[in-house]
């Protein structure tokens, strides 16, 4: 049993679940406590000891099914197939098996154990034998479909399939000489033949199952890593949904780090003056200690997000990020612009994400079909909303700075920077294309504390990391 659990832990690891040695030991302890009689309890025990993330539960369920019933199930199905081929009912088949057993006792002394198990349908022992053989030829190392044949042959060799075939052939000849009715002989013939085929089938299906186990992880992993590096421009709807999850986590992370930092800052140094003054009433004996109190600094963020057609997917994604941020912080104000600028803070606060994004992008707040005009948008912001910015505000601008050769009005950004704590520009365009054509990013960059290319999730992660470290 322990072997099996250790192997299962390995399998989980191969599929990207982190199972430590201590957890494997716990699982063995749990299995010992729950016993194996009740499958659900056994499963629950392993689940509680080996899986510590809710997101990994579906994977566990799937692998558990494959691993702990996979081979047994295959062998059972193969047995069923033989029964169906002989078109017998359960009872008839059982009776027939009893007859076979009788026969083997008399005629089958020369048969190897494996052949006997096969012919008597002893699935438990067969399963064990298969597992041993599989370990010997390292079937678990299989990676590609193309290797299936090779491993199937290796496994057959390890199980001495040739010998079993030979033995069964001899048995068939023997039966012909025996004193049975023709009908019975025909039945036995058919049975032996089917059994041999079944064994071959079992081996093939087992190898395939092993490959599938490994495959699951590879598939998932590929998907995720691709998502991280994929440019926002080329995301499908489904991927956008997945992105939503990732973005929420990212925003959460940002908050956690800030929360810890805030906690450190909460309690100031020992305040001698105030302690003395407070304790005058107790004859100078310091009953009550006083500490300097520090002001809590809540992060204030103002986000200006370009929603023009050229950055459509990127802005959709960025707005998701903004929405999640706003969910976490009380003091985030969000604005969207193309040529005009409009505030969406209230809107985001009161609506769910899908609705909020749709209205922001649809054009209820500002005209989204205009040509981008960063200069005009910034001027609009300075004249109408400059009050939103004070010494503690971080301003984040999301946009490609493609200004359609309009006046850039970069003095507006300078004005904003003078009042704000920090100005960060995230550009969803590749760095190579900056400052070509109508891109004005160079002109604006002068007035930013930080300008970063931000085309995919991984880059966004990096930006957030930098923000947090500073």
């Amino acid at each position: 049993m322990e072997d099996k659990l250790v192997e299962f832990a390995n399998l989980l690891r191969q599929n990207g679940v982190r199972v430590s040695l201590a957890e494997t030991l716990d699982a063995i302890g749990a299995a010992g406590t729950t016993g194996l009689e009740n499958r659900d309890s056994f499963r629950a025990g392993l689940r509680a000891t080996m899986i510590k993330r809710a997101s990994e539960l579906p994977l566990f369920e799937e692998l558990f099914d494959i691993y702990f019933s996979g081979l047994g199930e295959i062998i059972k199905q193969a047995g069923q197939a033989v029964q169906d081929a002989l078109s017998m009912s359960d009872q008839e088949f059982q009776k027939f098996l009893d007859e076979v057993e009788e026969l083997l006792k008399k005629e089958g002394q020369k048969l190897s154990e494996m052949a006997k198990e096969l012919l008597q349908n002893r699935s438990g022992q067969m399963e064990q034998r298969m597992r041993d053989a599989a370990r010997a030829v390292r079937v678990s190392g299989i990676e590609r479909t193309i290797e299936e044949n090779y491993f199937a042959r290796a496994l057959a060799r390890e199980l001495w399939l040739d010998k079993i075939e030979q033995e069964i052939r001899e048995l068939r000849e023997q039966i012909q000489k025996l004193d049975f009715s023709d009908a019975m002989k025909a039945k036995l013939e058919q049975y032996l033949e089917r059994r041999l085929k079944a064994l071959d089938d079992i081996i093939r299906r087992y190898v395939r199952m092993e490959r599938e186990k490994r495959d699951m992880r590879a598939r998932e992993e590929r998907k995720l890593s691709q998502l991280g590096d994929k440019s926002f421009y080329y995301l499908s709807d489904e991927e956008l949904d997945k992105m939503k999850e990732a973005v929420t986590r990212l925003a959460q992370r940002l908050k956690n780090v800030l929360a810890v930092r805030r906690k450190h800052a909460k309690k100031g140094r020992f305040d001698i003056k105030r302690t003395l003054r407070q304790n005058l009433a107790y004859g100078g004996v310091p009953f009550k200690l006083r500490f300097e109190r520090r002001k809590r600094e809540k992060p204030q963020v103002v986000i200006l997000c370009d929603v023009s057609d050229s950055v459509r997917n990127a802005s959709r994604f960025m707005l998701q990020f903004v929405y999640s941020l706003q969910d976490l912080y009380s003091r985030v104000r969000s604005f969207v612009f193309v040529a005009d600028i409009g505030e969406v803070t209230e809107h985001f606060r009161n609506n769910d994400i899908r609705e909020a994004l749709d209205t922001a992008l649809k054009g209820d707040i500002i005209n989204v079909n205009a040509h981008s005009d960063f200069g005009r948008a910034f001027r609009g912001f300075v004249s109408d909303h400059i009050g939103a910015i004070n010494k503690r505000t971080t301003v984040i601008v999301l946009g490609d700075a493609r200004n359609n050769y309009n006046l850039p009005h970069d003095w507006c950004l300078r004005e904003i920077r003078q009042r704000a704590r920090k100005v960060i520009w995230l550009n969803p365009e590749s760095r190579n294309t900056w400052d070509f054509g109508d891109s004005e990013i160079g002109r604006y960059a002068v007035h930013c504390d930080m300008v970063e290319e931000c085309r995919n999730l991984n880059q966004l992660y990096r930006v957030v990391d930098q923000l947090v470290v500073r």
Binding site: A22, G29, A30, A259, V285
Partner: protein, 326 residues
């Protein structure tokens, strides 16, 4: 102690808590393997309740530590009773001078005082907080560390010693080993991911919203006064609400509140107006309420057509079934 998994299920049912086999298995394992349990899941599915019920069914005392941002050792483990120490030194001034009689010079006086200082840093002057209480208790207890995700990451690290070795260290005194190993239940709403180190030391239990039948059974048990029809209708509505993308998905506790409220209003069966008026008991945000209203209109309409077709087929008898089939 529990004798088997089935025994856990029975005991919990006796305390009016319907535990699935999965939950029961984890609880049983925790009591047998002496491991803490980390319970995760959405709000309102009975995470905290597990600890309470566990304490009751074992007849242990429940010690609860509610976590929040900024919780530190002083509030969770122990604190020196500074005021009491001062008070004692004032009252015992004479004794202190006695000790100091004949001391030559300051250095010797300090030495003498130092010899006595464990008097002042003893358990007498310690104010035990939940964690120390759980460790030093003579009788076995259930320790509930609620909403651990609200506490800071440092606090989590601080818990590790307690969770793996069932001991805590007080620098001035030494290490306290648990007299009776407490059953520890930690709950988390997943506001943030717990560290791997903590997770590794715990059994993990994820509780999701219950299935329809299970939720019905819970209502029957917790609010037996509710009419059967009402109960099943309420469960139907709540289950359909959970499929929506709400800011706060209603949990079992909300379902129970609603059923109780409706029963108090002497309601036998739901209708559109009633639902709109009492919706605030299960849905807590304005945006959610709006969305829920829409869904409910749809739900009531569907229920009506279903009821209509039921009545139609019941009237003419079995012949109509055949007609439908054709």
């Amino acid at each position: 102690m529990f004798s088997s998994i089935e025994n856990v299920m029975e005991q919990f049912a006796g305390q009016k808590y319907i535990a699935s086999r999965r939950i029961a298995t984890v609880i049983y394992l925790a009591s047998m393997l002496k491991k803490p349990v980390l319970v995760e899941g959405p709000a309102g599915v009975g995470k905290t309740e597990i600890a309470k019920v566990l304490a009751q069914s074992l007849g242990h005392e429940l010690i609860r530590l509610q976590c929040y941002e900024g919780l530190d050792e002083g509030k969770a483990l122990y604190e020196w009773e500074y005021a009491k120490q001062l008070l004692y030194t004032q009252i015992l001034k004479d004794k202190v001078s006695e000790v100091l009689v004949g001391a030559k010079g300051l250095a010797q006086a300090v030495d003498r005082i130092a010899q006595e200082d464990e008097v002042f840093f003893s358990e007498r002057f310690m104010l035990p907080r939940p964690l120390l209480k759980a460790i030093t208790s003579e009788k076995p207890v259930v320790l509930l560390i609620d909403e651990i995700d609200k506490a800071d990451a440092e606090f989590e690290a601080f818990l590790l010693e307690l969770l793996s070795d069932y001991q805590v260290t007080v620098p001035e005194i030494g290490t306290f080993k648990a007299r009776q190993i407490p059953l520890v239940v930690l709950t988390s709403n997943n506001a943030r991911e717990m560290s791997d180190a903590l997770k590794r030391r715990c059994l993990h239990l994820y509780i999701d919203f219950p299935e329809r039948d299970q939720e019905l059974a819970i209502i029957k048990l917790k609010a037996p006064e509710a009419a059967d029809k009402l109960a099943s209708e309420v469960v139907g509505v709540v289950q359909s609400l959970r499929k929506l993308d709400l800011k706060k998905t209603p949990g079992i506790s909300e379902t129970l509140d609603w059923v109780k409220a409706l029963t108090l209003l002497n309601v036998q069966s739901l209708d559109q107006d009633l639902v709109s008026e009492t919706l605030d008991t299960i849905v807590k945000y304005e945006g959610d309420v709006r969305k829920a209203q829409e869904e409910l209109k749809e739900y009531v309409r569907r229920a009506k057509t279903r009821r209509g077709s039921d009545a139609g087929s019941a009237g003419p008898g079995p012949a109509s079934d055949k007609d439908l089939l054709n």
